[in-house]
Amino acid sequence: MIPELGHYSLILAFFFAIVQGTLPLIGVWRNNKRLANLAVPAARTQFLFIAIAFLSLEYAFYTDDFSVLYVASTSNSHLPLMYKLAALWGGHEGSMLLWVSILGLWTMAVTLFAKALPDSFRIRLIAVMGMVSMGFLAFIIFTSSPFERLIPAALDGRDLNPLLQDPGMVFHPPVLYMGYVGFSVAFAFAIAALLDGKLDITWARWTRPWTTVAWVFLTLGIAFGSKWAYYELGWGGWWFWDAVENASFMPWLVGTALIHSLAVTEKRDAFKVWTVLLSICAFSLSLLGTFLVRSGVLTSVHAFATDPRRGVFILLYLVVVIGGALLLFALRAPKVGLGEKFDVVSRESMLLANNVVLAAAAGSVLLGTMYPLLMDALGAGKISVGPPYFDAVFVAIMAPGLFLMGLGPLAKWKKASLPEIGTRLRVAAVISVVSAVLVPFVMGKITLMLVVGVFMGIWVTSTTLILLRNRIVARQDTTPNLVDNLKGIPLAFYGMLLAHLGIGVFVLGVTLVKGYESEQDLRMDKNDVAKIGNLDFKFDGVAKIQGPNYESAQGTFTVTSNGKEMAVLHPEKRFYPVQGSVMTEADIKPGLVKDLYISLGEPLEEGAWSVRIYIKPFVQWIWAGAILMALGGFCALADKRYRIRNKKTDQDLKAGEPQEAHEAYSA
């Protein structure tokens, strides 16, 4: 009964999405207020019905309703409750429902918080989001309903893939989707502006916070995923250039470019067309990513052939959304105008270079991800693109970008002087060069990659700190008190500092772990001691443990350094009887300068095991960097010029913007 209610709600939501996506547009066009005003109530009702559908499916998972095919194939009665609820997004159908629910959530947020926008613009915005939702709901209803019944009902479910039974499963997909889907708001802003034919500084100011929120979620989502892969897969890797990962990384790269391009549009009324194009691209890549990961096309291109409806629908949807948006862009972009001019050496030109770098990086990832699929679809054989391609190309493209990160924020808008920037950055240059030589020397191994990596990491970090120092010095005459001085600097500026510091920390983490990690596969008998560097790993044997839905062999390792105990680690080998699958659960002692990482291989004769021991220096810095970036985003959001205002004060704002806020991104 409840699943039928869910299915029915979904169909109702679809009808409301149609209303939301069409009538208000006609209303704005024909100047019909009654039709135009349907947008908000239609959007909210749509969200209500999607929420009912979502909760109905969760209820089916909660009550172990194995007469629902989707529940039977992704859950099991012995599954812990947390994973039962998270199993909703453990498969294709449920992920699509999660996607559309989050889209509903974003639309709801737009109806609640975007009140300062002019009516016609706001209505177009909501209508565009309605159209996106329409397509997705149709896809779910016609090709992948999670509410399909299984008759007769299964006695028990096939269980959630043991790999997914992890707290990461609870957070990673929703957070990632918040990011993916969040770009739909930026997309809708861009489309609405194209329809409007007007794109100015105020438009950029409205768009920026929404884009930043989406970007923060995407950053956190990717970081969660990477961390999860690190401890769960048991291979000690944190990024595999897997198609699934690339699918989330491409929108991030373009989204990062978009954030910077929006800054220029807001500050200088420039880069307008480019900003619109990036908004369209970011969301298009999100859509592509969703389908790549969830349509089964990665498993096999021929998955489309087994269920042609899905494949055709997906292709059609992508063509309509992306093609339609680009067509509109081609028709209307000239009307939007290019915006203000700027000099060859200026902050604008540096941000342009940043955008080109990020777009090129996204393009090269796209090439490496899609090429094998394309070749396979054309019957040209099975090919895979190795991680060395991504590593090499990515480093080569990003290195100049990182270098520019140091110069850009110091350059003046419109026209800057290179010698002046050079003088200001002398100290940073010296520090970076010295550490690029010193760090590898102290660590005892020098490669070109290490030198370049350390240089870039320290360069980004030190130039960012110099930025803060310059800011303080510039304000010293008016506000001599340091605390007051720091307080007076706008939050958006701190946001940028934090995010850039995050990049620096991330680059250092990646460089050091790639350069100095060590890996050993060993055969260990009970009480054997493995010596790695100055660390002793003693194997104390394996014990049998019974988990809620698995049996486990749990090893015990004592790690000592010069007789002093550093850590006791318990890696496990788990057996999940429902799917008959084995899972390696590594155990990790995380640390600021290094992680100790042990995973159990296979049992050998007489209580011996094959064991893999990793030492991962500075690996935690990778995620710390990502968290700093996200914090930076939050900080920028809290800046007072983005606070929600009612219409009246917004008018005041345009008349007399506080000077301080305007200066947020200026040095």
């Binding site: 893939n161 090499a392 080569a396 699958s581 084995v582 050998l604």
Partner: protein, 149 residues
Amino acid sequence: MKARHKRFGLIAAGLILLVIATVLITKSFRSNLVFFFTPTQVEKGEAPKTGSFRIGGLVENGSLKRLPDGLHVQFRVTDTAKTMQVVYKGILPDLFKEGKGVVAEGKLGTNGVFEADQVLAKHDENYMPPEAAAALKAAQENKAKGKVI
């Protein structure tokens, strides 16, 4: 006039960088393409003699042997028509099983043994790696053809 020169210089520099980047990317791309071969194709000598490639098929039942050091393993991969010997040092992935699909990446040794430096088994228990599935299908089709002729 000066501004126009500057702009021209900028565009020229941008184009040159773009060309260099494209050349580098395509070069790196070409050299990192890993091709896939079935055991039948390897037997026919279609696989590269030097350099890495991928093979795939089923792990033959009863073929998995662990060498005395506990770390080197040997197994045979079959596409049901032809079979090839594989050696690998390291810990096998969780989903590696006899009778199941497998994909390995590595080089052909002088003695015709495939020296794998990576054994891939995908995440899902029921899921056959696409390359392995393709290898089996190709072998089946060849057999069918053979019968007709």
